[in-house]
Symmetry: C2
Subunit: 406 residues, 2 copies
């Protein structure tokens, strides 16, 4: 019997057994010298690996290297990440640097270059300072509770780390699925500007892991929108080392759905954390659409609400300006019939069958002043449903992004 | 011989001969009482008419009424517009009110209801105050130079009117093409939150006018992005009354291209004015893409640049952060090869064949502090080209839109 999915208080990527991590400051991020800017993750044993990468036509060579590593299909032992510079938009040198960064990290970790993923996030168009990176690898001390250091080393404009872990019982064994992520601008469906690393001590067949990850990403990270932009570097990678000692989970095995649900839940938690910490954000926005013609329509409708600047601005002002929800739904591309639409703000019905419902405006304004605003939409057409996450748009977003490199 | 297209200094919609306009304040816009909020346009004689309307799935019933009027195909004499309330999201009452508003305006103008277009722009979800609207029609005085009053009566968060006129010689006759428009939020390709009315005294066959308008809209107003949102009410309408006395222009006639070019030029001017006055904007952004695989790709690439929040924020900060151009191009969906891309900021080459070019940063920052920033992109693949217009993202946009109805 599969048990419930439990959240681990204070969980981070090294909550999963058999993983070590660490981070250091090597001097790449001159604008935030108090933060770490380089990190490592190591599994004690070889891992099955799956990944989803940016859909941008212009990608960082680091992503290219990881795609090649993924395609080779061999076991993975670890990863290296730097923040501050994205290793993108630098011509052929970017590929050379990404390969070298993986090789240097592998040497430091005592594994092979083809067993290491390499990630960079930060400013586009600047070459990686390879000397600093080589020094950095030697400085990093790995530990069983080093997940927080890795999370810190990934941050760019993030104001805090994103870390979570869940546990679930599969076949009598307690498995951990744990992760870290970073935002927080250039975030939009089709993979956010975002790095998300997941480690699990479950034994999972690699083909199965790779088969379930795209849909999980589509339901979680790809339903996240901070500012409509998509980075050249977005990556979600999952490593599974089997340290929990469970029977290998594969397609059709008894615990396949349990594992899938637990991985989904972990990514929902990380997605919420990313949305909450969107650049300049003060309020988490959740859009729940049901009754759509199908899931694709539900996703379109939900994402259009959370990505609308006018909706985001209204949330910032705690303004129940539901006309903007109608506008967003209308342009979403999802099929709808105006006279069937029901709308809710934090559970309060404000439109029923396409007509405004009188509501206690002051009460709804007060609800919207909280940390989380939920827009509920029932299109009353069929059974498609989806959830999207986003954040409000504030003056602070503009301030952050009008002076990022200057 | 077709002469050059001349811009008319101080031109407005009544620059075209045989058109009268006027506006008044009837009390719909309580939040900006110094502005007009209702206007009328009348042609002395029946007009050929063409229109392009919002692609939103949820449209104002006023748009529905205009589509019906357009489909009936009869000549048009005038139009009525109010600002402050959009007549959208109000259930069946919206259609009843739109029909009545057209009828009331027609009675005031001394024409038939089916000869009048009806437009509303403003807040969604509030019913039109029909008593005020009926009173308003009686208050409006029409005049040959009333175009500016009509332009003022359309404004919502616009800070100034958008008006332009061009003249060109067709077959020995000087014709005028003139227009007014309003923005300035909820503006995005697929028709902006935007009303744009064009009047011409040229004699133009209705079928020809309707055949050329969609592509002209796709090259001008649909290449405008202020905030990514699309309104329920967006409309572009052209009326041609023939007062210039030219031979009727139709498909294949000698002056067809001249007329098309002049109408395009008028709409470019109005599009630029709309972009310049985007909510909170301080800088006009122009993205010119050439060398794309085709026009569709060029439009995608150009629009993605002007609609990127990160690009818009960088322009606000006069920050030549061209990495964000690479990011926007990459996610645009247009076909591209990184090693072929050339980038320019206000004419200064900053990337050639996919590699950064050293440039005098201070000089480019100084250029970006001007009123207009032009991003030039050559994808060097084929001959597709397009121009998009937008504006920077400022704290003021957030302030305006976080307190619009409250």
């Amino acid at each position: 019997m599969a048990g419930p999915i439990n959240h681990v208080e204070g969980g981070t990527i090294t909550t999963a057994k058999g993983f070590k991590a660490g981070g250091t400051y090597v001097g790449i991020k001159t604008f935030t010298e108090d933060k770490m800017d380089m990190g490592l993750l190591l599994s004690d044993t070889p891992c099955a690996a799956a990944g989803v990468f940016t859909k941008s036509a212009l990608v960082s060579p680091s992503v290219t290297v990881n795609r090649e590593t993924m395609a080779a299909g061999g076991p993975i032992r670890g990863m290296v990440v730097n923040s501050g510079i994205a290793n993108a938009g630098v011509g052929e040198q970017g590929y050379t640097d990404a390969k070298e960064m993986a090789a240097v990290a592998a040497a430091g970790l005592g594994v092979k270059a083809e067993e290491v993923f390499v990630f960079s996030t930060g400013v586009i168009g600047v070459e990686l300072p390879m000397t600093l990176i080589k020094q950095g690898v030697e400085q990093i001390e790995l530990s069983d509770d080093g997940g927080n250091s890795l999370a810190r080393a990934m941050m760019t404009t993030d104001t805090h780390t994103k870390e979570a872990a869940v546990t679930v019982n599969v076949g009598g064994k307690e498995i951990n699925i744990s992760g870290v992520a970073k935002g927080s601008g250039m975030i939009h469906p089709n993979m956010a500007t975002m790095l998300c690393f997941v480690a699990t001590d479950a034994a999972v067949e690699q083909d199965f892991l790779r088969s379930i990850l795209p849909d999980i990403a589509d339901s979680t990270l790809n339903m996240l929108d901070i500012d409509g932009d998509t980075s050249t570097n977005d990556s979600l990678v999952v490593l599974a080392n089997g340290a929990a000692g469970n029977a290998v989970i594969s397609a059709g095995s008894a615990d396949a759905d349990t594992f899938r649900d637990a991985l989904m839940e972990l990514l929902v938690q990380l997605t919420r954390q990313l949305a909450q910490d969107g650049e300049g954000a003060t309020t988490l926005i959740v859009a729940k659409v049901e009754g759509a013609k199908n899931i694709a329509d539900a996703r379109l409708a939900a994402k259009t609400i959370t990505s609308s600047l006018l909706v985001k601005s209204a949330v910032y002002g705690a303004d129940p300006n539901w006309g903007r929800l109608i506008m967003a739904l209308g342009r979403s591309g999802a099929e709808m019939v105006e006279s069937k639409i029901d709308l809710y703000i934090n559970g309060v019905c404000i439109m029923e069958s396409g007509k405004p419902v009188p509501f206690a405006r002051d009460a709804v304004v007060a609800l919207m002043r909280g940390d989380e605003v939920t827009f509920g939409v029932n299109l009353n057409l069929s059974d498609g449903q989806a959830t999207a996450w986003g954040c409000d748009l504030t003056e602070e977003y503009v301030v952050i992004n009008s002076a990022y490199t200057t």
